[in-house]
């Protein structure tokens, strides 16, 4: 909780609701921009009700632009991510201090030469994955910002039709209009293949980055004598193979028993003294 929020909480007993409300709305930020609206509506009390319909739209638009700016600002840079990767390699050096420093400049023009080619390749893959992930995140954010702008444009035109531009809409009117427009536009976006493609690109880029991170982290853990994900997955796969072999053996045995029963006829199920 920020100092501002804390201050407001003391002054206004309804502030906890505002805080929770925004937190809940922002919890969806990974997929949706609707927190921008929550912020815009939440500020109405603080800033005073908008004097006109135009001002209401202007506030929404400012909130949407701020959301988009924050989204772009929050993107980790590839350099930051690569720095994290380098630290993982440093950790590996602690486990194997006799190794020379591995190639830590993935964008270097040098070919992979010498005993540390695998490490260089891992770092290059990590850099490419981080770059792809960042681009996918930006692309999703831009797409959502466009969607938000379309919603605001719809709202502006609906308000123009229903109101004198100098008359402020009531909270209820604004909310009812916005939810109707946002729901409809969001549903249209979901039906558009582009939206699905962008979210899929983001998911795929996330998977690739996660795999690249694991590839760097696993040897670092192993070099310290610690269990790695790779080892756990190998163990799981081995147990799974054994289980499948066992199941197959049981199936074969059952089939053999039933073939034998067919050949020999139904076994006598009577009691031993019959």
């Amino acid at each position: 909780m920020t100092a501002d929020t804390e201050e407001r909480r003391r002054e206004d007993p309804s502030a906890p609701w505002e805080v929770l409300w925004r937190t809940l709305a922002e919890s969806a930020n990974g997929l949706t921009p609707w927190a921008a609206l929550a912020a815009a509506l939440g500020d109405r009390d603080q800033e005073g009700a908008p004097a006109t319909a135009d001002e209401a739209v202007h506030r929404l638009r400012s909130a949407a632009e701020a959301w988009h700016r924050d989204w772009r600002k929050a993107m980790p840079s590839v350099e930051e991510l690569v720095e994290i990767a380098r630290r993982m390699l440093t950790l590996r050096h602690l486990g194997t201090p006799w190794l020379a420093a591995v190639a830590t400049s993935p964008d270097s023009p040098w070919p992979r030469l010498g005993p540390l080619q695998a490490q260089q390749a891992q770092l290059e893959e990590f850099t490419a994955a981080a770059d792809e992930y960042r681009r996918a995140l930006l692309s999703c954010g831009d797409h959502l910002a466009e969607l938000l702008e379309r919603c605001i444009a719809d709202l502006a035109s609906a308000l123009r039709e229903a109101h004198d531009p100098q008359t402020p809409p009531t909270d209820e009117e604004l909310l009812a209009l916005w939810t109707e427009i946002a729901s409809r536009r969001h549903d249209e976006a979901l039906k558009d293949e582009t939206f699905g493609r962008k979210l899929a690109q983001l998911t795929n880029a996330w998977s690739r980055l996660r795999l690249a991170t694991q590839a760097l982290l696993d040897p670092a853990l192993e070099s310290m004598g610690l269990p790695s994900r790779r080892q756990l997955m190998d163990t799981q796969a081995h147990l799974d193979r054994l289980k499948r072999q066992h199941r197959e053996a049981v199936r074969r045995l059952e089939a053999r028993i039933s073939r034998m029963e067919e050949v020999l006829g139904e076994p006598d199920r009577g009691s031993p003294d019959q």
């Binding site: 906890p16 949706t32 795929n204 998977s207």
Partner: protein
């Protein structure tokens, strides 16, 4: 005082009341543990004298949706109608489950549950499933048709390529193989975000805003919290099973195309010869009506009873109409087979 300030004050009152009420009780109807399969608990409701109906729940959420509220409990309603429901309630997969596929779920869980109920009742039970659980039930019924007397499908998707299927559209371009390789079991939080992202204005905006309206109504607030608990109390998904379902159903539309293959075994759902009861909601955003109604392409009309109810996905389980119309119709149908 402005309307907004009044709304906020009521919402705060609602929050205090909600906080004092948590945790809310769910799944309160008494049951007997019939058997524990590899990955699930088979919960038996009723006296043992009713018509045995196994309900396979979805892997994605928790089975207590069928007993979320005492006044709208599916299991309670079924018992009152002379049915003995057996709910196959999946336990949370552990990290060792990431290699477990759907075929294991069919053989080692649903198949074992059917054997257990057959032993208890001395006759083959009726099999049913909820949402994804219906797909699993259909697959097992197709693999071993002689072991069950009929099939009941509640909000079960069959065609994953219908125009209104937003979930399928989002899944179309995802590399699920890579996703599962990277994550092992698939985290429930990610899936919940996707589900909420299908209706963000309703689920993340209107739903909480409406909290102020029920601030003084204990019963409504308790129901709100029960649903809130259920919506986000989801298990992680066993990696391989998730991959198979996403790829075979969502990407290849294998149920309808007849190409569904699990661990090398081809599943042919149109081979199931017994009667089928299929119910779906007309405004379901997770399983569109036409996706569920596509069961008619797999089952001969004389063996198929279809029932559509107005409302959304959850209305089929906690809606008043479902309890007044759907479940009595299902009980009659089962009784007359």
């Amino acid at each position: 005082m402005t309307h907004r300030r009044h709304h906020s004050r009521r919402a705060v009152a609602g929050l205090h009341a909600a906080g004092a009420m948590q945790p809310v009780a769910v799944g309160e109807t008494p049951y007997r543990l019939s058997t524990r399969t590899e990955r699930a608990d088979l919960k038996h409701y009723g006296s043992g004298d009713g018509i045995p109906l196994i309900l396979v729940y979805s892997l994605v959420n928790r089975a207590y949706l069928l007993d979320l509220r005492p006044d709208r409990s599916v299991v309670k309603t079924l018992v009152a109608l002379g049915i003995d429901p057996y709910v196959l309630d999946w336990r949370t997969p552990d990290s060792m489950s990431s290699h477990i596929g759907l075929l294991e779920h069919l053989e080692e869980d649903i198949g074992v549950a059917i054997e257990a109920v057959t032993r208890e009742h001395g006759e083959a039970p009726h099999l049913g499933g909820v949402c994804q659980g219906g797909v699993l039930a259909l697959c097992q019924a197709a693999r071993a048709p002689a072991t069950v007397r009929s099939l009941t499908l509640l909000a079960t998707p069959i065609d994953f390529l219908t125009a209104n299927d937003n979930l399928a559209r989002l899944a179309r371009h995802v590399d699920f193989e890579q996703l599962v390789r990277a994550s092992g079991n698939v985290p429930a939080t990610g899936l919940n975000m996707i589900f909420a992202g299908l209706k963000p204005v309703e689920l993340l905006f209107q739903r909480y805003r409406a909290l102020s309206e029920i601030a003084d109504d204990d019963a409504a607030l308790r129901d709100f919290l029960r649903m809130e608990r259920w919506m986000y109390d989801s298990p992680d998904q066993a990696g391989r099973a998730f991959l198979e379902f996403a790829r075979e159903c969502y990407q290849h539309n294998g149920l309808l195309e007849g190409t569904l293959t699990l661990d090398g075994e081809r599943i042919s759902p149109n081979r199931f010869p017994a009667p089928v009861f299929a119910a779906y909601a007309s405004a379901d955003h997770l399983v569109p009506a036409e996706a569920a109604a596509a069961i008619r392409h797999l089952v001969r009309p004389e063996r198929l009873h279809m029932q559509s109810l107005p409302g959304g996905h959850l209305g089929l389980f906690i809606g008043g109409n479902a309890h007044r119309q759907l479940y009595p119709a299902l009980a009659d149908w089962l009784r007359n087979l």
